[in-house]
């Protein structure tokens, strides 16, 4: 499967870019969070591809650590989103303009 490395790296790039596009263009806070998860998945795919290409364990270890960080991130982000919704009664990010300069 060594000849599939360019394909897998292209897929990782496409998934990361699509996730970034989702964070920029979507309105819903929860959907933006999910697009961030998609970006993390793209990075994970590239790391796994490199680990498979070189046959070393570094990439797999890094992916494992990213899993932990993603779980911690979502555990913090969801309560913050719930508090935001409680204060503004909406998931629309355009309503949160309190910090506008």
């Amino acid at each position: 499967m060594a000849d599939k490395v360019p394909l897998l790296l292209s897929l990782a790039v496409a998934i990361f870019a699509l996730g970034l596009l989702g964070v920029v263009v979507r309105r819903n806070v929860l959907v933006m969070l999910m697009c961030m998860e998609l970006m993390l998945n793209g990075v994970n795919l590239s790391l796994v591809t490199f680990a498979h290409q070189t046959g070393t364990a570094v990439g797999a270890v890094l992916v494992f650590l990213i899993f932990v960080v993603a779980a911690a991130e979502i555990a913090i982000a969801i309560p913050i989103v719930l508090l935001l919704v409680r204060s503004k009664r909406t998931l629309d990010l355009d309503a949160y303009t309190d910090l506008k300069g």
């Binding site: 870019a17 070189t54 911690a72 919704v85 990010l93």
Partner: protein
Amino acid sequence: MTGTIDTLLQNLDTLLLYVLAAGALVGAILMLVLRQPMRVATALIATMVCLGGIYGLLGVHLIAVFQVLIYVGAVMVFMVYAIMLLDARDPSVRSRFSGLLVPGIVAFALFLGALVYGLWQSVPAAASGPHAGLTLKAFAAAFLSEYWLHFELTSVLLVAAVVAALAVIKVHRTDHGG
């Protein structure tokens, strides 16, 4: 006829890889155009399961298992709970896109172009000979002998996350005169 089937079976993992990659890409694109957050979550779960299948095909079974267990099993279940707690008749559901749609797409095209250009400038060298594949034994040895410090640091991160979550909830309680 049997020859065709034989070739197909020999290339079965390649075929599966293409199918799973296409599934992951379609799920990622669907995430951008679907309206309901619950459907977006379903598309993301499909993408993650397809990526887990790709990891399994690459022989990194440990990561495939954790992809399904942690991402699909824990993170996305948490996300689906949050979606169910919140109102589905939100204005952000009716109009999907923010005002940054056109600049976002332009920046997306530029960013994708830059990444693909960089990727093809440094086309990864072909693997030097067949690798034995990443075994669980090699992973475990490297994980606990070489990267034990990082493993311990993640426990510090998890404790910080728990404390932060408690702090967020406590702020809310004092707001209501608790």
